[in-house]
């Protein structure tokens, strides 16, 4: 009976028992951009691990890392360290850590309608600082926002936090390939974006409560997060672990990184012929992405192609002018369709 009670207590109250986490890469397992390297957060918009980014619009500077230091049940976390302080944020300055959720992935919540569904956010957090911090949700146009606070009680100790977010029955919520909602954590917010209205929807753009700790005010301060889950209902169930390939495929809709392991799997172009009838002095190669990307991606490579075009399905690298028998290869490239 005890086991049955325990099982019942841990089942979700609403919706599916599997694939219920709306957040992608909540366990911070996928880091295609930086691996485990410590990276200086510059410029202002910086993906720490796949799907999670810090946006620093202050005078502070940070290091970010995909770190091994996870709590029990987790290997990885995202870690931020203050490397340059901003002890007095301007009224519109802020730093935040967030995940943009694609509209397709939250349309079932029916936000913006009378049938709007309540969701629950849970996460593990650890910081060298104690005090009151904030989480936020806001819509694509930043005209609807929901702020809640959580308390870090003990320094340098993993704690699990839970926030229930009532479904927003008004406002405009994107339901396609644009951002449906931004969900994240304030690390410091200027007074223009602070509010005393907590755990309720606000018809303006807010990111923090008035008692939010200014993380950037302490040099060397650290803030870590993992085990992020957003699910339907009023209950935070156990974190839903999924296999790495499933998470990677979800992440590759937004960012794809190709790194060659040798000559045989380079993205390789060889000119078919140089001149003749018809004249053709260009050469190209196509690559089909492993999953359909969210939008036509930005392409980056170390090789100086004439063109590197892409759709949501594939990329085409092209050399505009070449002579017969030439060969070209790139050993690494990325496709970026993130928000």
């Amino acid at each position: 009976m005890g086991n049955a009670r325990s099982l019942a207590d841990n089942l979700p109250l609403t919706g599916a028992t599997g694939n219920r986490n709306i957040i992608i890469n909540g366990a911070m397992n996928v880091s295609q951009r930086h691996g485990g390297s410590v990276v200086s957060v510059a410029p202002s918009d910086h993906y720490v691990v796949d799907r999670f980014k810090i946006q620093d619009y202050s005078d502070a500077t940070f290091n970010s890392q995909h770190d091994y230091d996870g709590p029990a049940g987790f290997t990885y976390c995202s870690k931020l360290t203050v490397t340059g302080t901003d002890t007095s944020l301007g009224t519109t300055q802020y730093q935040r850590f967030l995940q943009p959720i694609e509209g397709y992935n939250m349309r079932h919540l029916k936000w913006g309608t009378a049938d709007a569904q309540t969701v629950t956010l849970s996460f593990y957090v650890k910081s060298s600082l104690t005090g009151t911090f904030s989480v936020f949700v806001f819509n694509n146009s930043a005209t609807r926002s929901f702020i809640s606070t959580y308390t870090i009680s003990a320094a340098n100790t993993w704690e699990r936090k839970t926030v229930t977010i009532t479904g927003d029955t008004t406002g405009t919520w994107e339901k396609s390939a644009n951002v449906g909602a931004y969900i994240g954590w304030s690390l410091g917010t200027g007074t223009n974006f602070q509010t005393s209205t907590l755990d309720a929807w606000d018809g303006s753009f807010k990111m923090a409560g008035t008692s939010q700790v200014n993380f950037a005010g302490t040099n060397g301060a650290t803030w870590q997060v993992t085990g992020v889950q957003l699910e339907l209902g009023t209950k935070a169930t156990e974190f839903e672990n999924e296999d790495y390939q499933a998470t990677l495929a979800k992440c590759q809709r937004y960012f794809f990184s190709w790194n060659s392991t040798g000559l045989t799997d380079n993205l390789y172009i060889r000119s078919p012929y140089a001149s003749g009838t018809p004249p053709n002095t260009s050469a190209s190669v196509a690559y089909t992405f492993p999953v359909t990307m969210r939008a036509a991606p930005t392409m980056a490579t170390s090789y100086n192609f004439s063109r590197f075009t892409a759709s949501v399905h594939n990329a085409v690298a092209q050399i505009g002018s070449t002579s017969q028998g030439n060969a070209y290869a790139t050993t690494s490239w990325t496709a970026d369709a993130e928000f």
């Binding site: 969210r294 991606p297 980056a300 004439s306 063109r307 075009t309 369709a337």
Partner: protein, 56 residues
């Protein structure tokens, strides 16, 4: 994003098909797609009085 240069690239028919740009010191090939965040940033950059260089 710190945009320092933007130039159109032509397709085989001579039409602008994408831009090559330097953003935050990195060279990027950006599609002219309204859902692409770099293209959105370039549109803001143009609205701020800047001009995309013609191909050539």
């Amino acid at each position: 994003m710190n945009i320092t240069s933007v130039k159109y690239i032509l397709d085989e028919d001579g039409n602008n098909c994408q831009v090559i740009t330097t953003i935050d010191g990195q060279q990027l090939f950006v599609p002219m797609d309204e859902n692409n965040r770099h293209w959105i940033a370039i549109q803001d950059w143009v609205a701020g009085g800047n001009t995309i260089e013609e191909a050539g």
